[in-house]
C-alpha cells in the first residue's frame, strides 16, 4: 500500500492499539486485580439479591453490571487521563509532530482499551456465571453484538472527549474521575435496572452511554423479563446510542483541536513540564 493519509492513520491506530493491548497484558497482577476486584462488588450484591429472594435474573443483572464496570473504569481512569500521562512522559509532543490525525492516536488507545478490557469483562462474567450459576437465555445474538459494539464506541468516544478536557484541566481532573466513579455506578444502574430510578433520572443518566447499553444488554440476555425491567425498547436504546456515538466523536474532535491550538498558543498544555 502506498503512503496515503488513510494508510498512515490506519497504521497509527493499529500501532497504538497494539501497544495498549500488549502493555496491559504484560503485567499479570493487573489482570488479576481487574478481574477479581469487580467480582467482590458483584458478589456482595448477588448475595443480597439471593438473601432477599429477588428474581433470579437480578443476579445476572449484577454480573453483567460488574463486567461492564470494567469498561467504565477503563474509560474514566485510563482513557480520559491518557493524554495527560502522555504529556508527562513526553510522548504527547511526539504524537503531535507525527503526520497523522490526533483522532487516530485516541482511536488506537480506545481500540486497545476496548480489546484489553473485553478480556477482563468476559473473565468477570464467566467466573460470575460459574460461581452463582446464572442461566442466560440469549435470543438475538446479532442484536446483542450490535448493542455491545455501539455502546463501546459511544463510551470510548466519550473517553476520547474527556482525554483532551482532562489535559486542559490537568491534575484537577482526577477529582472529577473520583467524583464520577461511584455516582455513575448508581445512576447508570450497574447493580440494578436503571428503570427503578424513575424516568427523568434514567433519561439524564442516559448521557453516559453505558446506562442504555447495559439496559439493552440485560433485556437481550434475559428476554423474558425485558419488558418488566427495561427502561426503553432495545431498538430505541440502540438508536440513542448511535446518536451518542456521533455526538461524542464530533465533540472529541473539537476538543482535541481546541487542546492542540491552546497548546501551540500558550506553550503549556502539550509540552512536558510546562
Amino acid at each position: 500500500m502506498t503512503d496515503t493519509w488513510l494508510v498512515r492513520n490506519m497504521r497509527a491506530i493499529k500501532a497504538r492499539a497494539y501497544s495498549r493491548v500488549v502493555g496491559a497484558n504484560r503485567e499479570p497482577s493487573w489482570v488479576l486485580f481487574d478481574v477479581s476486584l469487580p467480582l467482590l462488588s458483584v458478589a456482595a450484591y448477588a448475595y443480597i439479591y439471593k438473601y432477599m429472594d429477588a428474581p433470579e435474573e437480578f443476579v445476572g443483572f449484577v454480573i453483567l453490571g460488574g463486567a461492564m464496570t470494567a469498561f467504565w473504569l477503563n474509560v474514566l481512569w485510563s482513557m480520559a487521563s491518557q493524554l495527560y500521562w502522555e504529556k508527562e512522559t513526553g510522548n504527547l509532543s511526539l504524537f503531535l509532530i507525527a503526520p497523522i490525525s490526533r483522532m487516530s492516536i485516541l482511536a488506537g488507545m480506545a481500540v486497545g482499551g476496548m480489546f484489553a478490557t473485553t478480556v477482563r469483562a468476559v473473565s468477570t462474567m464467566v467466573i460470575g456465571i460459574l460461581v452463582f450459576g446464572v442461566a442466560f437465555s440469549l435470543s438475538d445474538p446479532l442484536m446483542l453484538a450490535l448493542v455491545f459494539i455501539v455502546t463501546l464506541i459511544a463510551l470510548y468516544g466519550m473517553g476520547m472527549m474527556f482525554a483532551s478536557l482532562y489535559l486542559i484541566f490537568g491534575r484537577e481532573a482526577y477529582h472529577v474521575s473520583s467524583l464520577m466513579t461511584e455516582p455513575i455506578y448508581l445512576v447508570s444502574g450497574f447493580y440494578f435496572p436503571v428503570k427503578q430510578l424513575g424516568f427523568w433520572t434514567a433519561m439524564g443518566a442516559s448521557v453516559i452511554p453505558i446506562t442504555l447499553g447495559l439496559d439493552a444488554l440485560r433485556q437481550l440476555f434475559f428476554p423474558s423479563s425485558g419488558g418488566l425491567y427495561g427502561f426503553a425498547s432495545v431498538t430505541n436504546e440502540l438508536l440513542i446510542l448511535v446518536a451518542l456515538c456521533v455526538v461524542f466523536l464530533i465533540l472529541s474532535k473539537f476538543s482535541l483541536d481546541y487542546m492542540e491550538r491552546l497548546g501551540k498558543t500558550s506553550g503549556r498544555l502539550t509540552l512536558r513540564w510546562q
Binding site: V7, Y18, S19, G23, T89, S93, L94, A98, I100
Partner: protein, 326 residues
C-alpha cells in the same frame, strides 16, 4: 533559494497565566536564520537561551508570537501538516515510549505514525540497533534500559522515519563519553550519506560537540542570534585576540577585571567544592596579563594554573556576551 529552515524576525513571548507568575518572557527575539539543505547546523547557547523554543516552533509544537518560520519551504503556522511529513525530533533526557514494550516494539510503534510499512520499519530498526550496539537489547523491555541505551533508542526513533530534516535537542545530554561518541558519529554519517538531502538542526551547550559536528553554528543568547558562521570562521573572530585561562582560589570580587586595559571580555566560573574560580579572558593586548595577575594576587588568591589557549567557540561566546556557558 529553497532553505531547509528559514526564520524571519521570529519572536516568541511566553505570557504568565496570572500576575502572580511574574512577567512575560521573550524567549526568541527577532530571530533571522537560514539553514541550507544538507547542512549539519548547530544552535549553541547556554540554558534558557531560546534553543528549545526555536526547535518547538520549527517542529510545529508552538506558534510564533510574531514573525515567520518556514521548514522545507512550508509555513509552520499554516502548512504544519506538510512539515510533519518531513521532520522528526529527538530530545536529550527523553523518556518517551512505553516501559512495558520492548525496544523493537516501541520503535515499530513510532514508525507506524509515519506510515512506514512494517517490513521496512523492522528492517531499518534492526540495522540501526546494530549500528548503535543495541541488538542484544531489542527484545528487552524499555524500562530495563540504562539511560545511555534509552537515549540511543530515542535517537533511532527519530532517524528510523528517514526524515528530510531532524531536530536534535541536546541529544547527548547527560550521556557518558562512549554513548555520546556513538550518537555523534551516527549523526555525521547519516547527514553525509545523502548529502544535500538530509538536514540536521542540533542544539547543544557542549562547545566541543558543536565544533566537532557542525558545518555551521549560530550562537544564541537571550533569544537573539549573536553570530552565525562556520566554526572556523567563528573562531577567527577571536584569532586576533589572545585567549587566557586561569584557575585561581575562589575570588570574592571579579568586578575589576572588565575595566583592565587590554581586556576585551572575560568570564568567570566558580566551583565552590574545589574552591576554584576559572577565569577566561579575551585579550586585545597581552600586556594585560601582568595586571590580571596583580589583581588576583591583591585579593589574596593563589594562581594555580595559567594557560594561553587556542581560540575555542567558548572564547567566541565570551567575547560576544561577556559570560561563559556555566
Amino acid at each position: 533559494m529553497d532553505y531547509a529552515v528559514e526564520t524571519r524576525q521570529l519572536t516568541r513571548v511566553f505570557n504568565p497565566k496570572s500576575k502572580k507568575e511574574g512577567k512575560s518572557v521573550k524567549a526568541l527575539d527577532s530571530v533571522d536564520l537560514k539553514i541550507e539543505r544538507g547542512e549539519l547546523f548547530g544552535l549553541l547557547g547556554p540554558n534558557g537561551a531560546g534553543k528549545t523554543t526555536l526547535l518547538k516552533i520549527l517542529s510545529t509544537l508552538l506558534l510564533p508570537t510574531t514573525g515567520k518560520a518556514f521548514v522545507s519551504g512550508f509555513d509552520v503556522e499554516k502548512e504544519f501538516v506538510e512539515i510533519r511529513k518531513r521532520i522528526n525530533m529527538v530530545s536529550g533526557g527523553e523518556i518517551s515510549g512505553y516501559g512495558l514494550l520492548t525496544v523493537r516494539e516501541n520503535l515499530w510503534m513510532f514508525s507506524q505514525f509515519y506510515g512506514i510499512k512494517s517490513s521496512v520499519a523492522h528492517e531499518r530498526i534492526d540495522k540501526m540497533l546494530d549500528q548503535f550496539g543495541l541488538v542484544d537489547k531489542k527484545n528487552e523491555k524499555v524500562r530495563a534500559l540504562s539511560t545511555g541505551q534509552r537515549q540511543k533508542m530515542n535517537v533511532i526513533r527519530g532517524f528510523v522515519t528517514n526524515p528530510e530534516i531532524i531536530f536534535l535537542d541536546e541529544p547527548t545530554l547527560g550521556l557518558d563519553v562512549n554513548a555520546s561518541r556513538i550518537i555523534r558519529d551516527f549523526i555525521v554519517d547519516w547527514v553525509r550519506e545523502d548529502k544535500g538531502k538530509r538536514t540536521v538542526l542540533l542544539t547543544t551547550h557542549y562547545m566541543a560537540e558543536a565544533d566537532q559536528l557542525c558545518d555551521k553554528i549560530a550562537i544564541i543568547d537571550d533569544g537573539r542570534i549573536l553570530a552565525c558562521d562556520s566554526p572556523e570562521n567563528l573562531k577567527k573572530l577571536v584569532k586576533m585576540n589572545s585567549t587566557l585561562k586561569l584557575d585561581v582560589n575562589l575570588l570574592n570580587d571579579i568586578s575589576g577585571f572588565g575595566s583592565l586595559q587590554g581586556v576585551e571580555n572575560f568570564a568567570a566560573h566558580d566551583d565552590p567544592e574545589r574552591n576554584v574560580t576559572t577565569l577566561r579572558f579575551i585579550l586585545k593586548d597581552e600586556s594585560a596579563v601582568s595586571e590580571i595577575m596583580s589583581l588576583i594576587l591583591s585579593q589574596g588568591s593563589k594562581i594555580m594554573t595559567v594557560q594561553k589557549t587556542e581560540p575555542t567557540l567558548e572564547d567566541v561566546f565570551v567575547k560576544m556576551v561577556g559570560k561563559g556557558f556555566d
